[in-house]
Symmetry: C2
């Protein structure tokens, strides 16, 4: 049996069985060491899969750090230390230095530090980042309570539109298009939400595979039903302009678009903080699955192995 027959998530389930580990399944792994609750995570960017070599190298470095910070923040922690494991072909030193400038800038922005790493020779560039964060309380996918509101940070679907624009490889782009491309190339992890998540969220995760599939994961982990309202899903004016121009449905982008690195979380309605960029998009109910208005929502996210 090949991996493509069971998919990425089927494979993960089997490997969890081999390890008999109970704590694999959230964005980070919480471990207690001495008096500290640490959040451990890793995420990789692969050439020709997550980026192309003609992308600005500093953006690749920025994103490699940001996607890991996003996991730590989603679970209520602050990022502290990172290791960078590089696999790379013989390429221009200048290019890799630029990647590292992006890594350094991102670390300065998020207040963390690269303390080590590893370099190996391979055929394609691969940037694997390991990150350690620290939290007062671990907030995972399990814990949503019936009656909680469902919230997301920022706006959704921009990254997918940005990627499509990048792949069009146009000679020139309009301003709103450049902003969408920027959201894809240089996502910013929601470090502004750490305190809020840590204090109030009953469950939380980052939206890396798309709202529809990530909401299903949260509903399943919490053993609840999520009812979302389509008219409440936050859409940027840039995404609306993009969809108008190309005859697309922005809601479709918001539901299925991955790599937004916004947060999806639940807590009582009265905890809504108007000073944060957060939107109430639904409620937690008894039951299972995710409903958009009155119809069940299918996962439209990405399974790398199923797409073969």
């Amino acid at each position: 049996m090949k991996i493509s027959e069971i998919g990425e998530f089927g494979l993960i389930e089997r490997l969890k069985d081999v390890l008999r580990s109970g704590i694999i399944g959230d964005d980070t792994a919480p471990v207690q060491l001495g008096d500290s609750l640490l959040l451990l995570t890793c995420d990789v960017l692969l050439q020709d899969r997550h980026f192309k070599l003609n992308y600005p190298p500093s953006a690749i470095g920025w994103k490699a750090i940001s996607v890991n910070v996003s996991d730590v923040v989603a679970n209520g922690g602050m990022p502290f230390y990172a290791l960078v494991s590089l696999v790379l072909p013989d390429m221009e030193v200048k290019y890799i230095e630029e990647v590292y400038f992006g890594i350094k800038r991102a670390c300065e922005f998020y207040g963390c530090e690269v303390v080590g790493g590893n370099v190996s020779k391979g055929e394609k560039l691969c940037i694997d980042v390991f990150m350690i964060g620290k939290a007062d309380r671990f907030v995972g996918r399990k814990g949503s309570k019936v009656g909680d509101g469902v919230f997301v940070s920022g706006t959704l679907g921009d990254s997918k539109a940005g990627l499509e624009l990048l792949l069009m490889d146009k000679k020139s782009y309009e301003d709103f298009e450049l902003r969408l491309i920027e959201k894809h190339l240089r996502p910013t992890a929601r470090i502004d939400f750490v305190k809020h998540i840590s204090k109030y969220a009953t469950a939380s995760m980052d939206i890396s595979d798309g709202l529809s599939s990530d909401a299903l994961k949260l509903a399943k982990a919490s053993s609840v039903k999520l009812r979302l309202f389509s008219e409440k899903i936050p859409l940027s004016k840039e995404l609306i302009s993009f969809c108008k121009k190309h005859g697309k449905d922005p809601l479709e982008y918001a539901l299925s678009g991955g790599e937004d690195y916004e947060l999806l979380f639940t807590h009582p309605m009265e905890r809504l903080n108007p000073f944060l960029s957060m939107t109430h998009i639904g409620f937690v109910e008894e039951g299972e699955g995710v409903y958009l208005d009155d119809r069940p929502l299918e996962a439209t996210g990405f399974d790398h192995f199923r797409m073969l």
Copy 2:
């Protein structure tokens, strides 16, 4: 300028400059978090570079953990938690499960645990392990004192001989040959040395690139000269049999052979522990570089990028 013009270590120096980090350069990165001194490390095994797909998959998993434990142990720590970042093509699920059985067995042996990880699709199998250890005291490459003895654990050069035997792809192997192959495929990190290193070593590192190049790194970091005695370098009877059979010099294997994952460390002579598998191979002197008997020793280790 290409990476091959400055080599792996030249590249690392440049990336350290970009990050302006002072603590990159040992086998692990020591960081203080709360009341714990943590040792962080990562090391990757790449298909067709560090292993071939026809190797026993459980051995690949065992080695991926062992090479990381070796780094932690070299710096005086005990391994605690690991993350496994897998990049893999569409392949047999059974194969990957076997890799994970090897990972699990190694973790049980060393007393650590895989708490999370990541799976991505790529063209070749790549197993990147990130490990956190804990130490009472960090023992790095810097710290050797003039007058200290120089010691190594186990025997050296076996892994290189084992690799050469593997690549001969013979129909059948003699017993001593199988033991050498085993040393290459399933190295055991010297977890039996943790207390000794932590209590007594003035400097320590693991021998992953070969004694000659690793001893030079230790001498440089400690700003001392190491004088080694060729007749004291520990050689296994298996390596001697191998060299007799193939007309090779076992000392050459011991000096240049990588991947032994034995330890190289220094401390006062009176700390020699006869109950540990350790050998006194030389002394720390004033000066710089490494001398074997009366001649300076050149680094004969491996630079992946210079070999292009």
